[in-house]
Symmetry: C2
Subunit: 279 residues, 2 copies
């Protein structure tokens, strides 16, 4: 029989953070796959994007966010940002005593499993690509796999401008992806949380024979396993009237809520603005 | 005869700041038009862009930067960022006792002077457009002028991706500018410091009959006048061996220097990274 303390622990929320709005694709998968869990989402909209910034800066920002989430009594943390996962996760893991996972390892694992010809591509921000982190993780599992990375800096602004299906996005995708097509990859990781939103464009350019891996989906799966393994999985829904999902941002709540409602069909009513530098 | 104190004052540098790299187009004009002045440039590359962020956040960031520049003993400050000029300049003017100018007023003044048909367009970031600041200043000078604003969020990432002359930039420019063409403007303000870099694309789309106003150029002119008026203008070049131009950023010095050298033909050797939140 569970004690009161255990029950309270199970009901504690999961903390999810991203540089801004992209991490909502991860949040969406968590809501679908483990619908009993409460979630606190933080988007660092005052300092977005992270993808073009340095390891030191992204790590400093991530530490502040982890401190904020811990002040909210989260039972586990998901780094729902590829750049922060690439740059900061190793440090964060050592510094806190609750489970923390990123989006890179789950994506890398699936890519290593599904490739048949051993040629994997990764599209992501400049930061994630230059960190070589997908290559490192994939090679740990299958050293013979060849990994080719390609930074796609315009994809995030195109997504945020709403051009999810548009001739301009097609043209930019063709340019970014041509070098990956030339290498003969059969598996492509969507290594930035915005990219699932232009999945159909990427699929069209790459062709049917290339499997697209969405780390957002894999991360939610791995989170579920981790919660079960650690005895933190909540088997029952929160009580009626409980605020299941809470959203915090460092700037521009209204714009965030508007974008969030285009990604997550949940009727998000609001987001609170906090001053993240104070953490 | 000038006293020693006056001479020291004249030799003090001008502080110039921007959210990142765009303000270098203003810096370039200052270097051309008042070549005897020493300049300290700060680019907030850790928190760039400002254009999509709120007034409160942009003002908080701008205050920190002004404190940093004052710690460097600047004799005057140029807010070389349209969004910061739109949101923060009024507050900053009240808070400090050295001259400070932004890029908006000089651009608005020239636009009000040059329009013949009284129809002026402004292209800028979301922040600058939603502040309505160009409209406000132009109407103060000529109340009958009609001002039409258009936010162009993709221009900055396109410029930073190096697509200064490219069919994709042409296509995006056509979409953004079509509503301005329809209003029959004869004058268009390039209301974001990145835009002079795609001036030829904008000129091609708008046609010969539309005069483009570059606030960077006008700001350097106004700065010169202001320095002369306040007795701060330096008539002689700095001594040989003096470090005339210094660059500071909050992140990614190497990337900044690379971009800076594509804009300013001066052989910029380096930029120092500082932690701007500490100011």
């Amino acid at each position: 029989m569970k004690t009161v303390q255990d029950k309270n622990l199970l009901e504690m929320p999961i903390g999810v953070f991203d540089s801004g709005m992209g991490g909502l694709t991860v949040m969406r998968e968590i809501m679908r796959q483990i619908p009993n869990e409460k979630v606190i989402y933080f988007g660092d909209t005052a300092r977005v994007p992270y993808g073009s910034k340095s390891k030191e800066t992204v790590t400093r920002f991530s530490r502040q966010i982890v401190r904020f989430l811990q002040s909210k009594q989260v039972k586990a943390i998901v780094v729902a940002c590829n750049t922060a996962s690439a740059y900061a996760l190793n440090d964060l893991e050592r510094e806190i005593d609750i489970p923390i996972i990123g989006v890179v390892k789950p994506g890398a694992k699936v890519a290593a499993e599904v490739t048949r010809n051993g040629q994997v591509g990764v599209i992501a921000t400049e930061g994630t690509i230059s960190s070589n982190i997908y290559t490192t993780y994939i090679r740990q599992l299958r050293p013979e796999v060849q990994v080719t990375g390609k930074a796609c800096p315009l994809f995030v602004p195109l997504v945020e401008e709403g051009l999810w299906q548009d001739p301009v996005t097609d043209e930019i995708a063709k340019r970014y992806l041509s070098s990956l097509i030339d290498t003969g990859i059969d598996t492509l990781i969507l290594g930035c949380t915005h990219y699932p939103l232009i999945r159909s464009t990427v699929a069209k350019v790459m062709g049917d024979h290339v499997t697209l891996v969405n780390p957002a989906y894999e991360t939610a799966r791995e989170l579920k396993e981790l919660l079960m393994e650690k005895g933190l999985f909540n088997p029952v829904p929160p009580q009626l009237g409980t605020n299941k999902y809470e959203f915090f941002v460092s700037d521009g709540a209204e714009k965030f809520v508007h974008f969030a409602n285009s990604i997550i069909k949940y009727g998000i009513l609001g987001a609170k603005v906090i001053q993240i530098e104070d953490y």
